[in-house]
Amino acid sequence: VIEGLVLAFGVVLLAATAWCPPRTTRLLGALLFALVLGVVFRFALGMPVALVCGLLGAVVAFRVFPLLVLRRVLFLVPALVLLIYATTLLMYRAPGNPFANERATTPQVEAALRAHYGVPKSASAFFAIYMHRLLVEGTLGPSIKVQGRTVEELIGPAFPVSVALGSLALLLSVGLGLGLGIVAGLRRNTAVDHLSMFFSLLGVSLPNFVLGSAAMIIFSLWFGWLPVAGWGSLRHVVMPAIALSLPNAAIIARLARSGMIEVLQQDYVRTARAKGLPESWVVVRHALRGTLMPVVSFLGPAAAATMTGSFVVEVLFAVPGMGQWFVKGAINRDYSVVLGTAIVYFGLVILFNLIVDLAYAWLDPRLRSSGAARP
């Protein structure tokens, strides 16, 4: 009950940050920004540097940062704490615990293990230990199922792999999706439109492990062009990147198509045509911007999801990426791993949504002039 109340209070507090007046937002946002900088730099560079960096950061943030960014920072920090707390509660509600094993452990052994890994029996006590570790010791805690390594040592090498693979896949899906979608939108209800939408439907409905397995059989076993699986050369990246990109490409194609159809009916496009501009100029200079809007808002969360890896694709192609830790952490009830992945994912979602918002203001002059930000 108390845990529920704390949670509810946190949510209210979080909602309140949206109504915070601009001056206060500026001040609090800058302070929290300084705090985050301080915590990060303290473990990288030591206390004095961290203090200086934090103070400097606060001043810069207060003076230079757009209100939109500071509002996000003000939201981010309490939301992160709330996320950790809520995730902890949920983890403790799930049946089992990290020490439940096929072989029975005696109570003494379990107690020893719990003390060793800092996983007490109460969720709130664990939350306290975790926050202490995060803020004071600067670690995401030891993994219980991959012994001898901390969560940052697990995620650290895996994250760049996932980001590399994810950004390539994202690039592919944007290229492919926009191409298909724009062509389909321009040639609405023609054979080209139907064909590209058929491919898009295929991409949405075929799970990527099916696509991946098929690609593996064709390109590795039959033709022998690409290695089956693993990580270490450019040839290893091709198939997982394609498998990862197709579902997103399909969605982007649909968004771009409908965006294009809608934009082509707008007054400013008619004006452009009326001015006698060539059709290609109308499309590239005038219609494309509008077409991109829905795609960009999709790309924010999609980028966060793609760059944190996909369990299915990673397991299929034996890629040492980050996606596996989302699933393994949950399955093994490896609490610190669950929280570590959640924090990284949450951070990326916030970051990419911020980028999307900034991109919006850049793409649509109407949003820029009013100065309003999408909540």
Partner: protein, 678 residues
């Protein structure tokens, strides 16, 4: 605008790709031997690790007193170049070879073993395999008695008080049972000489008079004090001058509580491997087994470990037998997807696929290939019955379930790899073990008759029940066939359902199931590894079933000499009393030590067979289904894999546990042709 957006993105992506590759740049040359290990090892700390993937790596990195010879899987000299066993089989003297070295050049001494074994029993370390060495004097007391003493003098008396307060009259049987299992009384009081407590443990289920319960705390206190004293004694002596101790740098003396025929084999098992104290203490005991920190004494050294990518081992230059090690390096890949493993094998990227790395739905088709081999395994697949639930508390119902199942259909049509239908719990193939009579067969008539006797003629009135399995495709197939057979043969209403691993663990532990799938991999080649699961309230039992005679038979087998001195209870109650009595008398009469040891060991196996008989002939707390098969796919140019073992006695036996020591594996591949890319 679009162009600038794209180019920015491209630069970003390329930069990150480069980062990704520098981090996972390959080690260059293809290793001499590459295999799929199914999973990332949880730990490479010999005293903390558990599991098959860990076993394969640790046996290559470290070496125990004995090691298993690849051809026979019998213990042969490892770090110890010779040993003597006392006439009573209770004292082992190991002579360590002076040439044995750690990878940092230090000699491997008897003290390293003392340290490792004491560490294994350290109560605060929490090793899951500590129990495996409890036959060594002082080990069990050091490992468990401090915690038990604390419970006996703290939480258990408190629970008694609470129980007395909660109930006005006699304590109901259910509350007593809950108290016993929650306080883990059987484990906590195991082997107590206190007659009051022994009688309490052995009393039949039923209401407990208040007076009897309120008398217990005083006895708990006494027992707690006794255990605390034993712990203190063990702490003082174990690994120092008792149990296992260094007579000098190269002589290790081990004292056993009772003769244990499999002890030599056990010294080749990874929990008993020596560990380097200085390296562990230097890194605070946390991550000493990671590359660049680890100091090991086996045929290979850990060169690289990229989580999720690969582990690379290299031949150790400091290993005493390095001339026999022919692989220069080994790559171990933690590939979880079995289809991916198979594809890697087929394209020549892997040389060996062990059991868990072969896709089971393709295995029957792979069977005809020359490089695929199967053989019986030391793994049992069975279902547990919740004996605390009605109507499964009725032995007739449990027997009916056992008789109504056509195991042949499951092995023939579902598993399709030559798995043996199981009419026993203990898989066949153990030297010297004769399985008892079994009541398990396929007999629908008898099953229906038993069900009628139990009050469910033609299945009428039988409550709907569930068959629980942990989520996995092959378990699902078996569970569905099982449910179908029970429906057709017994006309009962049954459904199969699944839970993911942790929930399944929770459900079986909390006894929240009717029938639950289970499997057990034998830890050592002895029936005991399958039979001690079913001790009353044992941690792995989880059926609620228990039998005093069964427990006594197992403790008699664990201490045959003690049994021979006082055999009456067991002989009176065991089924085959007269035959056992003859063996007991023969063992007692044997004067010559070797003869005595031999008849003791025969008697021991006979006692275990009697215990198994209770499970599969009288009481049926489980439904054995089949015996697993080992499966391997090995490239023809890889040598040193033996699926048929040749014992030192000239007898041929199957490789039950699928063990292939990497030390003795070699590759006939031309090293110069296969250079270059990985």
């Amino acid at each position: 605008m679009l162009r600038s957006l794209l180019s920015a993105f491209l630069v970003f992506a390329l930069a990150l790709l480069v980062v990704g590759f520098t981090l996972s740049k390959s080690t260059g040359r293809r290793a001499d031997f590459r295999f799929s290990n199914g999973n990332e090892p949880k730990s490479l700390d010999p005293q903390l690790a558990t599991g098959e993937p860990e076993h394969r790596i640790l046996s290559a990195l470290f070496e125990g007193l004995a090691r298993l010879d690849a051809r026979s899987l019998e213990p042969v000299p490892g770090v110890a170049e010779s040993w003597e066993i006392s006439a009573d089989g209770k004292k082992y003297t190991f002579h360590l070879r002076p040439s044995a070295r750690w990878s940092d050049g230090q000699p491997v001494t008897a003290r390293d073993f003392c340290y490792a074994w004491r560490r294994l029993q350290e109560p605060t370390l929490g090793s899951e395999y500590a129990y495996i060495m409890h036959m060594v004097r002082y080990a069990e007391a050091y490992n468990t008695h401090a915690g038990q003493a604390a419970a006996l003098r703290g939480t258990i008396p408190a629970a008694v008080t609470a129980l007395l307060r909660a109930h006005a009259g006699a304590i109901p049987a259910a509350a007593v049972l809950e108290f016993s299992s929650k306080q883990n009384l059987d484990a906590t009081l195991e082997g107590t000489p206190n007659s009051v407590l022994r009688n309490f443990l052995l009393r039949p289920a039923g209401d407990l008079p208040r007076s009897e319960l309120s008398a217990l705390p005083a006895q708990f206190e006494l027992e707690g004090r006794r255990r605390a004293a034993l712990y203190e004694e063990a702490k003082l002596h174990f690994g120092v001058d008792g149990g296992a101790y260094a007579a000098d740098d190269h002589t290790l003396v081990v004292e056993l509580v009772a003769p244990t025929p499999y002890f030599l084999e056990l010294t080749s098992f990874y929990p008993l491997f020596p560990v380097p104290r200085w390296a562990i203490e230097k890194s605070g005991g946390q991550n000493w087994f990671l590359p660049n920190r680890i100091v090991s004494n086996g045929p290979f050294q850990l060169r690289q470990w990229r989580v999720g990518d690969h582990i690379r081992l290299e031949r150790s230059d400091s290993y005493w037998g390095r001339k026999d090690v022919r692989l220069r390096d080994v790559d171990i890949l933690p590939i979880e997807n079995t289809t991916t493993s198979l594809n890697l094998y087929l394209t020549g990227e892997l040389d060996w696929l062990p059991l868990q790395s072969i896709p089971q739905d393709l295995a029957p088709d792979l069977r005809s290939r020359a490089d695929f081999s199967t053989g019986p395994a030391f793994i049992a697949y069975y279902y547990k019955i919740n004996c605390t639930r009605k109507p499964f508390d009725d032995v007739r119902v449990r027997k009916a379930l056992n008789l109504a199942i056509d195991r042949e259909q499951i092995t023939r049509d579902v598993m399709r790899l030559g798995q043996l239908p199981a009419r026993y719990l203990v898989p066949p193939g153990i030297r010297g073990y004769t399985p008892p009579d079994t009541g398990i067969q396929f007999d629908v008539e008898l099953a229906r008759k038993l069900l009628t006797e139990a009050g469910f003629p033609d299945g009428r009135g039988f409550p709907k029940f569930g068959i629980l399995y942990n989520t996995l495709e092959s378990h699902k197939k078996v569970a569905e066939v099982l449910a179908d057979q029970l429906r057709r043969h017994l006309h009962v209403d049954v459904a199969a359902y699944n839970q993911e691993w942790q929930s399944y663990q929770q459900s079986t532990r909390a006894m929240d199931y009717d029938l639950a799938r289970a499997g057990w991999v034998g830890d050592y080649e002895d029936p005991n590894t399958f039979l001690d699961l079913w001790l009353t309230n044992g941690g792995n039992n989880r059926t609620g079933w228990g039998s005093v005679v069964y427990d006594r038979l197992l403790s008699a087998a664990a201490d045959v000499e003690g049994f021979v001195a006082q055999p009456e209870f067991v002989l009176d109650h065991a089924h085959d009393g007269p035959a056992l009595r003859r063996m007991t008398d023969a063992a007692r009469a044997a004067a010559e030590p070797a003869q005595r040891l031999k008849s003791m060991s025969e008697l021991r196996l006979a006692l275990l067979a009697q215990a198994e008989r209770i499970l599969i002939h009288d009481e049926f707390p489980i439904v054995p289904i089949y015996v697993y098969v080992t499966q391997d796919m090995v490239k023809p140019e890889i040598r040193g894999f033996y699926n048929e073992l040749l014992g030192s006695d000239g007898a041929k036996r199957p490789n039950l546990r699928g063990i292939h020591p990497l030390r003795d594996v070699w590759s006939q591949r031309d090293p110069y042709r296969e250079s270059g890319s990985r």
